[in-house]
Amino acid sequence: MKTILRSDELNCPSCVNNIESNLKGLEGIEKVTVKFNSGKIEVEHDPELVTEDDLLAAVMQSGYSAMVSPF
């Protein structure tokens, strides 16, 4: 399953790495792409193992709030 999160708080391109690593650290994550310019975070994951809330929590742990977005 692919979930798209949006955060409009990203303020330095290096934070992208932090968010990516934090998300990749969760179980059930297949692919993570964080786009700095648009603030879009695309996650491919197994919804059985990791929920949308888990994803949001992981982003928050990296220091940013995000929202789930339809596209």
Partner: protein
């Protein structure tokens, strides 16, 4: 207990936490100053400064730790080392200031960047949440995402259109500025295409849903703009490579400086200014804002790379049909053959314009029932000048013309051979008109009323009314060479080129020939843009450095494949697109210069002993903000 939990949850929200940390640490710093400066109580003062550094540093150290766990050395790590180092050598207030300023800078950057990303957010918000659908005689309001293809949707005046589709009934004007960037509302009636996210202004319209949700033109635009913003410009890639070496380089420099000078303060000050903040943000901020600004005007630029290239274009080639011209015929000439009535007395003159209008009047009546493109053109022109009633009966003769009856009048409209066939006399005067018009590339249509030839019309694929001014603007913004490419013969091509003010004309071109012209221009050292529409332009569009598609609203292929897609069929958007690109390119350069000068000045200042930790951080954060502000100027800049 609940309030404590609330506090905890507030603290978990990153942006609120940042604000709390900033306020608390700010208060500590202020009171620290008070104790240090006014009360002359260094112990309390320094303690407060350490508290301030710890509070502001909490967030920074956390991120540094995260980075280390992921085996990355990030900016936060440098700042943390500097702050801890500062405290250990007793420069407490500097440590407090560094952490506070770093946090404050980050917060301000987030806020301004949020503003920049808003353009996209506004686009997303254009899509209405609900839609009113019609089922038999009932209407029902449902969530917009549940609308399916072929459902009938009612949109009231002032409402937003929730789907792409076709007007089934009703009349209105629709503000399409969100899609096309055109400020003038477009008239819609039965059969007109409408787009999701546009605003219905004054009438009720019923729309048959065509595309919904992620398939709509607006959703595609949003997706495109976003991909464009994320596509890294060459400058951005270069800078990111540079930044990857810059930070470790500064750390190395700091270590070496310490070894040689044994000056720990100098070493940690270097760490503080080792953050390439302004540099890494210099390009993205301009690209995001420039692409967003263009999107707002109905210009979709595929990405930073294209933006940079478009800013350097020196030659521009245009296809003729459908690009410089409307791509459909319009009435360009009217001639009247009515026998001049001899004025009874001298004052009673019959102005020629009236008789020309009569020719259009009768032609219009005859064509009123026909769907032929030429018929549409004649009727449109006729209606501009007068009321045209519908014919009482008519018959089309495909390929020749039309015969019609209006009360007792018999009307014939068609080409010369049609008139021949109907035994209408085409005299020498009429023949001359036909010849002159044909030489100018016009399609000639003759008009006869009650068995007598009364005049004729010349039709031609008319040039866009703003073509000349658009070409003029292109020269003004520095396009050295304008070239027209067309498959048409030379006389037609030349007449259009003259009207548009284009000096270089290539006529009778096959698709490969167009491509060769582009390649020759590139060999001559030009960076070439090509504007086109049809499939026959595809090779040339691909060969050009920048391919521009016009009137892309509703055509997915153009939106997805063109380097620059102009949503409206408006030639003046071409100079506008190139101008925004040039502005953005200049903005990127300014930002890179600001960033490099700051870094250079800071390094010099540190080694000269003029810049210390707190000051270094302040200047660094100011330069980041300056770069962001400069980028944001692109939103309004004329």
């Amino acid at each position: 207990m609940t309030s404590f939990n609330q506090l905890i949850s507030l603290f978990k929200n990153p942006s609120i936490r940042k604000k709390i940390l900033l306020t608390v640490s700010g208060i500590f710093i202020l009171s620290g100053w008070f104790f240090l400066g006014v009360m002359e109580a260094p112990f309390t003062g320094n303690a407060l400064m350490i508290f301030a550094a710890v509070v502001a540093g909490y967030e920074i150290i956390q991120k540094a730790w995260l980075g280390m766990k992921n085996s990355q050395t990030n900016i936060e790590l440098l700042v943390s080392i500097a702050a801890i180092g500062g405290i250990s050598i007793g420069i407490y207030w500097e440590s407090a200031a560094v952490t506070f300023l770093f946090l404050l800078g980050g917060w301000l950057e987030s806020r301004t960047l949020k503003n920049t990303r808003k353009i996209l957010k506004n686009l997303v918000e254009l899509v209405p949440q609900t839609a009113t659908i019609v089922r038999g005689k009932e209407t029902e309001t449902i969530p917009a995402r549940q609308v399916e293809k072929d459902m009938l949707v009612l949109v009231k005046p002032g409402g937003r259109i929730p789907v792409d589709g076709e007007v089934e009934s009703g009349q209105s004007s629709v503000d399409e500025s969100a899609i096309t960037g055109e400020s003038i509302p477009a008239d819609k009636n039965q059969g007109s295409k409408v787009f999701s996210g546009t605003i219905n202004q004054n009438g009720r319209i019923f729309i048959r849903a065509g595309k919904v949700g992620a398939d709509t033109t607006l959703a595609k635009i949003i997706k495109r703009v976003e991909e464009a913003q994320d596509a890294k410009a060459p400058t951005q890639r270069f800078i990111e490579r540079f930044a990857r070496w810059y930070t470790p380089g500064i750390v190395g420099l700091s270590v070496i400086s310490f070894i040689f000078t044994q000056n720990i303060e100098l070493a940690i000050t270097l760490l503080v200014i080792g953050c390439p903040g302004a540099l890494v943000i210099s390009t993205p901020i301009s690209v995001i804002t420039g692409i967003g600004r263009a999107a707002k005007e109905g210009i979709l630029i595929k990405g930073g790379e294209y933006l940079e290239n478009a800013g350097k274009i020196s030659a521009l080639a245009l296809d003729k049909t459908g690009t410089l011209t409307e791509g459909k015929p319009g009435v360009t000439d009217v001639f009247s053959l009515q026998p001049q009535k001899v004025p009874v007395d001298f004052d009673e003159e019959i102005p020629e314009e009236i008789t020309k209008n009569e020719v259009l009047y009768w032609a219009g009546i005859a064509e009123s029932g026909s769907e032929h493109p030429l018929a549409r053109a004649i009727l449109t022109e006729g209606k501009k000048r007068q009321e045209i009633p519908d014919a009482h009966s008519f018959q089309s003769h495909t390929g020749f013309g039309i015969s019609a009856r209006y009360s007792e009048h018999q009307i014939l409209v068609g080409n010369p051979s049609f008139m021949d066939e109907k035994d209408i006399v085409v005299d020498e005067k009429a023949f001359q008109y036909i010849q002159t018009l044909s030489e100018k590339g016009r399609t000639v249509v003759l008009v006869a009323q009650n068995g007598e030839l009364i005049g004729g019309l010349g039709l031609f694929d008319t040039i866009h009314s703003n073509a000349a001014s658009a070409m003029q603007k292109l020269s003004e913004i520095g396009i050295e060479k304008l070239v027209m490419l067309t498959g048409d013969n030379n006389s037609i091509a030349q007449s259009i080129a003259d009207e548009a003010g284009i000096k270089n004309v290539h006529s009778r071109m096959l698709p490969e020939d167009k491509m060769k012209v582009i390649e020759q221009l590139q060999l001559d050292g030009h960076l070439v843009a090509m504007v086109g529409d049809g499939i026959n332009d595809a090779p040339a569009l691909t060969a050009a450095d920048i391919g521009i598609a016009m009137g892309a609203a509703g055509t997915d292929v153009a939106i997805e494949s063109a380097d620059i897609a102009l949503m409206a069929d408006d030639l003046t958007k071409i100079p506008e697109a190139l101008r925004i690109s040039k502005l953005t390119l200049r903005n990127i350069h300014q930002n890179v210069v600001i960033a490099l000068i700051t870094v250079g000045a800071l390094l010099t200042g540190v080694f000269a002993g003029e810049v210390h930790m707190a000051g270094g951080m302040l200047i660094h954060e100011l330069s980041v903000l300056l770069v962001i502000m400069n980028g944001m100027r692109l939103k309004w800049i004329k």
